[in-house]
């Protein structure tokens, strides 16, 4: 495909997700595809580590973040653990701003940008990340990959909303048969491309692998028959 494709891997600061990420990066690089960035999701911010549970969990996460920095030398963006579910266009917009502009748009993130050292790193890394996310005159394809449950859908939605708000005509696609994408966006996503209400420039659709498989099978078999393998 001629358009540039950029895989982003989403992970949690946890051993299993790191292992999966390393495997994905290796496999992709064997194919000559270079993962362009990581998004580490669900980070517990320092001010939240006030109780023993969160303090312990934050300590664990910091260990794994150090491991990620050591072993997976890629531009890395961090996404804080939020006080609520990432669901609906409004919240996704905020997440997008946090991911792309490095600024907090609402009280949800409090004073994060000022207290976390990660905020500085975020800005540095964005300079590296943005040129590979923006179309720059070509059509751009962005893949979100990673272990199940790490926030791929939320990251895809937030990215798509952010890009649409930058005036890029954006199509958001999923192969998730459970239409999880629609749940996260908070608007139904169907089998046909349709505009996403409340987000100009954003369109979404889902690819149902089962239905696509059936259609594909029928097409192949009828092709084969048309080429004469069948009439006996």
């Amino acid at each position: 495909m001629a358009s540039p494709a950029t895989p982003t891997i989403v992970l949690h600061p946890e051993a299993t997700a790191i292992k999966e990420t390393r495997r994905a990066i290796d496999e992709l690089s064997k194919l000559g595809i270079h993962t362009h960035e990581l998004i580490v999701n669900g980070i517990i911010r320092a001010p939240e580590a006030a109780n023993p549970l969160f303090a312990a969990r934050r300590q664990m996460q910091q260990g794994y973040l150090a491991q990620v920095a050591r072993e997976l030398p890629l531009p890395t963006r961090q996404m804080a653990l939020l006080d609520g579910e990432i669901k609906g266009v409004a919240r996704l917009r905020v997440v997008g701003s946090r991911l792309f502009d490095g600024r907090s748009e609402s009280a949800m993130f409090g004073t994060l940008a000022h207290t976390e050292p990660a905020a500085d790193r975020l800005l540095v890394d964005l300079a590296d990340v943005l040129p590979r996310l923006l179309p720059n005159g070509h059509r751009r394809t962005i893949f979100f990959a990673g272990k199940g449950g790490v926030g791929k859908t939320a990251a895809s939605c937030a990215t798509a909303i952010w890009l649409a708000r930058q005036d890029y005509r954006t199509l958001l696609l999923t192969t998730d048969p459970a239409a999880h994408l629609g749940d996260v966006l908070g608007v139904p996503v169907g089998d046909a491309v349709a505009p996403v209400a409340g987000v100009p420039n954003l369109f979404a659709t889902r690819i149902d692998p089962k239905a696509a498989g059936e259609a594909y099978k029928a097409r192949i078999l009828s092709d084969a028959r048309a080429r004469g393998r069948a009439p006996r």
Partner: protein, 178 residues
Amino acid sequence: VIAVMREELDSPCTEEIAAFDLFIDYAAQDNWEVVVFDTAPTGHTLRMRYAMNDSTTSLPSELLDATHTLAAALAQAEPIVAYRAARARLDADPIARGLLERVAAAQADLRVRQTREALTHVHVDQLRALQRQAQLNRVTMDYLSAQQSAMAYLPDVSLEISRLPGVDFGALIGRSSC
């Protein structure tokens, strides 16, 4: 052959390829500046990317040259020449093509009815009538037999290649690991 193909197609692999196909269709549409793809977990994505990269070969240049020579030689081989000629005649003959297409459509319809247990003798008879018609058409029959010969010829080529290093390439090619 169709039964074997159908069996081969009954795999999760097919769904992945099909979903990927659709994805490519969307990604190739001109009206998007950005396509954001929320994928299923990693393995699936890797296969998709693999399929995507399949079209750009990574063969070493000497092998690539050799395949080009082989392809050029094959294009001169009698069964292949006959097949291409028959195919060209079929493509130029809307009636013959229409016949094969109708047979294919009737067979697809029959299969759907079969799974829904709505198959009747009327449908089977219709298909048989179409098949008889196709058998009476010279262009379709020429095409089908040329195709059979070409398909029978290619394994000979693979056998000949396999003789040299002692590897059965035919058997290797037949198995697609998805």
